[in-house]
Structures are given as C-alpha cells and as structure tokens.
C-alpha cells in the first residue's frame, strides 16, 4: 500500500511550491520491478531535475501560451502528412451552407450530417458524442431530430409502435455508412438549417402526439359501439334460446310479436288475422275518413 502518504493539508500546495522533493510516492509500479524493454529505445536518456527545470533548460519553455485560432491555421500548414482534416464542429462560419442549396433540398444534408462532420469524441454537439457520429442524424432530442437517438444504429427501432419514431432526419437520407465514410465528409449544416430542423422535429413530435390521441379516441369509440352491439345481440339470443327451451318443455308462450292495431283501429295483415289479410286482397282498403294526414293516428274527430 501507500508508503506513508502525507495527511493532506490546506497548505500542501504551498509546500509543493517550496520543496522540489516529492512529498509522498505511490507504491512502485509493477513494471518498474521488471527488466528493461525489448531493445534500445529511440529516446534521449532522461534528464535529471524537475520537469519545469528540464523544459526550461532545453529552451523550449513557453509559459502560459494560449493557442488562438490564427495560430491554428498556421500550424495547419505544418501538417507533415498533408491530409485533409474535417472542419471543427464549432467553426460555424465554415459550415459551407452553399452546398445545401436551401432548406428544401433535404437530400444533401441528410447524408452529410451524420458522416464525420462532428468527428471525434466528446461532445459538444449532438453526434460528436458518438465518436465520429456513428449514429446518423445526430443526437435526436436535443439537436435536429425528434428521436432519442437519431437514426443509425437505433434507427427506427426505438419507440416501437410509433414506427420509426427515433429516426433522425439524417436517417432516411444518410446513404453513407458513418463507420466507413470513404470519401470526403460533407460539411455540416448552418445555423438556420439546424434550427429549422429542430423546429421540424418539434412539429413532427406534436403531430405524432395528436395523431395518437385521435387514433385512440377512434379506437375507444369503436370498441364501445361494438360492446353495445354485442349486448344487444346477446339479449336477443337469450330470448330466442329461452323460447326454444320453453317450447321443448311444452310450455306455450305467446308469440312475441304483438301487432298493434292499424290506423283507424283496423287490424293489420298478419298471421293472426287471416281474414283481414284476405279482405285486403279482395277489396281495396277504404281511404280513412278525413284526410291522409291522419293515417298514422286515430282521427281526432272520433
């Protein structure tokens, strides 16, 4: 374990400044106990003294140097490899919105968004978090698309019944495989385009919600209708069955249909009134007294 680690105090930093010797050392590393390396190393032998002394003795010390963006462009010329490097996610002005030809041409930035423009790890913007944006379409939710994970790997899977809810905007358009983006990665969209995409995501989201509510209401209505119909029909079935059983038992029941008397008290044709039916055939029915207005009810004058 620790070879007497010092109890840290408020002033340990001051102590550190004064004494160059190390206050406490961790246990020896396992590799320090082993032998040397596999061969001669191409490194200069280590110098004695503290790191700051060594650097200052070499004449390379430049305390507190701040790298500005202008420094960065000059260093770019010294790139020994001469490889093209992608633009940085925060360099908004270089987003090259001219490639996009307006917001309408979705196809362009669809594929561009996911492939490497937010390269790297760590995360300032959506998809950069995924290490070179392996998840096409950016990191949904927050940036540019409605889904929780944008397109790509999680693709349309998330949110199951909603059918591709998680599909980021880049998803359907992203033709390139983000993990094998051979060729130049297109530059990322500008501010307005990303803003509009965010807005589209929001609108999409609420659209989906309202569709869901509508569908649910409809389904509920149909369910209730069906239920009522079922009760209705089952009541009739019960009646029929009961009559059948009673018939079998030899109990005569009155037929359910009771024919109401017709207008003017005339019995309507039916199985119970054969005479009326015959009479109806033989001679035309007399027009009721008064007018036809009183056909369906008894004449008020009677």
């Amino acid at each position: 374990m620790a070879s007497n680690p010092q109890p840290p105090s408020e002033t340990f930093y001051e102590e550190l400044k004064q004494c160059s010797s190390i206050a406490a050392a961790p246990p020896p590393k396992p590799w320090e106990r082993s032998g040397a390396s596999s061969g001669p190393a191409p490194f200069k032998p280590p110098s004695a003294g503290s790191t700051s002394d060594v650097v200052e003795a070499s004449g390379t010390a430049r305390p507190g140097e701040i790298i500005t963006s202008t420094d960065r462009t000059t260093t770019a010329n010294r790139n020994a490899l001469g490889r093209p490097v992608p633009t940085r996610p925060w360099e908004q002005q270089s987003y090259g919105s001219n490639t996009y030809g307006g917001y309408g041409s979705t196809l362009n930035y669809g594929s561009g968004y996911g492939t490497g423009m937010y390269g790297g790890v760590g995360g300032m913007y959506g998809s950069s978090m995924y290490g070179n944006s392996m998840y096409r379409g950016g990191y949904g939710g927050l940036y540019g698309s409605s889904g929780a994970y944008g397109g790509g790997m999680y693709g349309g899977g998330i949110g199951g019944p909603m059918g591709g809810y998680g599909m980021g905007m880049g998803g359907p358009y992203g033709g390139q495989d983000p993990n094998g983006p051979y060729g130049e990665p297109p530059s990322p969209p500008g501010f307005w385009i990303s803003f509009l995409r965010v807005m589209q995501g929001v609108v999409n989201f609420f659209g989906r919600i309202s569709i869901l509510i509508d569908q649910n209401t409809q389904a509920f209505h149909m369910f209730m209708t069906a239920l009522l119909q079922l009760f209705d029909r089952s009541g009739m079935l019960y009646g029929e069955l009961a009559r059948f059983v009673l018939r079998l038992l030899g109990i005569r029941t009155k037929p359910r249909k009771v024919h109401p008397p017709g207008p003017d008290g005339l019995p309507l044709p039916g199985p119970d009134n054969p005479h009326a039916a015959r009479g109806c055939i033989e001679k035309p029915k007399a027009a009721p007294t008064g007018s036809w207005d009183n056909v369906w009810e008894n004449d008020a004058s009677r």
Partner: protein, 318 residues
C-alpha cells in the same frame, strides 16, 4: 462485484495509485453535450457484497471528461473540464475548499489528462484546440504548449519509463511522439485512416504503443519501426473510445467502445480477443485497470453506472 450509480453520464474512471480500494469517476450531465459535471471519489467495500461508498464529490460548471490521480499526493486529482480548464482537487478537503486551482489556458474542451508517473511533478492535458499542454504542480501557468496536430487532440500519455517522453493521439489521424526537451514532435505515426481517439504505452516495452480509432480497430505500433503495425486488433463494432495497457502483463490491454462492450486483448497471441464484457447498456467510455490489484477492472459509461470487477467474473454479479 459492486456497482455505483452516478447521477450523470460517466466519462472516465481511474484507480488510485496509492490505495487499492479507491477510484475516481468523471461524469458529465446530458451526455456531456451541455450541463454540469461531477467528480466522484469512491471507496470499494472490503467485501464484494457491500455497496461502493462515496468519499467525496465535486461539482463543476461544465462536464468533466477525464481525470488523473496525482502520483505525488494520495488525495490530489486533476480533472479535465469541458470549458477548457484543468482543475486540481484535493479529495480530502471539503467541496468548499475545492478546486485548489483552476488552470484555464485551453480555448476548447479538454479531453484527457495524464499525470507523469516517473517524475511525478507534472501532467499533460490534451484538448480540442489542437494542443497539448504540459503543467507542473509548482507553476500557476503551463510550462509548455505542444501544437502540431491539425485537429482535436483526444489523448496524451506519458511514457512509463522515460520521464520526458509522451505520445498524443489526434483527430488528424496521426499519433505523435514528443520529447519535452525538443521543440517539435520526434515522431509522427500515421496510425489510422480515421480519427484516433486514444493511445497508451506498453508498460513493459517502452517502445510499443497502442492506438484506438474510429475505424473500430486497435493497432499496436513499435515506435522504432512504425511503417507497419505490430498487430491490428479487430472485434469492436463501433469506434474504440479508450485503450489501456495492463500494468501487470506486457501484452494485455483493455479497451472500451461505443458498441457498449469492454474488451480485453492480448496482442501477442493468435486469438487476441481475451475477454468481452457487455454489461453496459450504453456507450462504454471509461475503462481502467488497477495498478495495485492484478486483474481488477473498472468501467463506466453513459448508462451512469460504474462497474468494478475482477477479470473473469461477471461485472453484473452482485
């Protein structure tokens, strides 16, 4: 083995070089996109069944992407913060007295910090402003700035045997070897066709480095002959976020990836994939191997969980 739930998404985990039961975790809110960060100092329980206890935690105004334990003080921590600052914390002091120092020179997010294990008085920070800075604990400003990379520098690591030599990995698809006494880099290794996210030195062979890249592979290089890689390790399904050589076995290394797995590799043997753990349900972004206990691994990821387990056992087992 024990599991610790962090409130934010995990970004990095490191074992203390002083105490075998202590580790620290760097976390960032909202997947590190925006929001606060927190640094946890955790203590492992004596028995595996007990939960991990928290010794200290420090809040920051921006996500913490990486941390490094001091090699000279058992309670001192260096944190890489997304606002471009490098902060020094003393885990034995209350949060009111922390951070001890906030070193603000980087103009972009700081992605990685590494403490010099041999000279023990300095540390490196690698940031998205394409530069690596060398700091010593006795100076209020950086001693030197190394700017040659043409894209974000994602990782910097000291050579375990040479106190003046370190390596850096960058998004410009190169790894560079530096000597703090030289004005420029001493070696440029065009290691991958895609961005390199992490690199580490072999602890038992000071000429061997491993680089992890977005192209889903890990490559092992000998700096004396870097035309061809010593080994190419394929097996991850997405970009490899971190690679770490074992402190106990020369050819063993651990890696974690956006395919949510933590893998163990032995680049010397034919079947190089030694172990595969898929316990994380989100991106695994932090992995470490204990210096003091052989085979003890820790990992963290965006599922806000920290796992500590012995190699060969199931991390999820209670």
């Amino acid at each position: 083995m024990p599991i610790f739930k962090t409130p934010f998404n995990g970004y990095s985990v490191k074992f203390s070089p002083f105490y075998e039961n202590r580790l620290a975790v760097a976390t960032a809110q909202n997947f590190g996109i925006l929001g606060n960060g927190r640094l946890h100092v955790l203590s492992l329980p004596p028995s595996p069944a007990a939960p991990i206890s928290e010794i200290a935690c420090f809040d920051t105004a921006d996500g913490v992407y990486d941390l490094a334990w001091s090699e000279s003080h058992d309670s001192l921590l260096v944190a890489a913060v997304a606002d471009g600052s490098v902060k020094l914390y003393d885990s034995s002091l209350p949060p009111a007295n922390n951070p001890l120092r906030s070193l603000h020179e980087h103009t972009r997010e700081v992605q990685s910090v590494d403490y010099n294990p041999t000279r023990r008085d300095s540390f490196l920070s690698a940031a998205w402003d394409d530069s690596v800075k060398l700091w010593t604990v006795d100076r209020p400003a950086s001693v030197r700035t190394f700017k040659e990379h043409t894209y974000c520098v994602y990782s910097a690591a000291w050579n375990p045997r040479h106190a003046d030599v370190f390596a850096s990995a960058s998004g410009d698809c190169t790894a560079r070897i530096w000597d703090v006494r030289e004005p420029g880099s001493t070696m440029i290794i065009p290691a991958h066709e895609f961005e390199i996210l992490s690199l580490d030195w072999n602890k038992y062979d000071d000429c061997v480095i491993a680089t992890a890249s977005v192209d889903k592979s890990i490559r092992v290089w000998d700096v004396r002959n870097y035309r061809v890689p010593v080994a190419v390790l394929n097996g991850h399904g997405y970009a490899v976020r971190k690679v770490k050589f074992s402190p106990h076995r020369g050819s063993l290394m651990a890696s974690c990836s956006y395919d949510m797995t933590v893998c163990l590799w032995d680049y010397m043997v034919e079947d190089s994939l030694v172990g595969r753990y898929d316990h994380h349900t989100e991106f695994a972004v932090g992995v470490d191997m204990s210096v003091l206990v052989e085979g003890l691994l820790a990992s963290t990821g965006w599922d806000e969980l920290v796992y500590v387990w012995q190699h060969g056992t199931d991390p999820r087992a209670p």
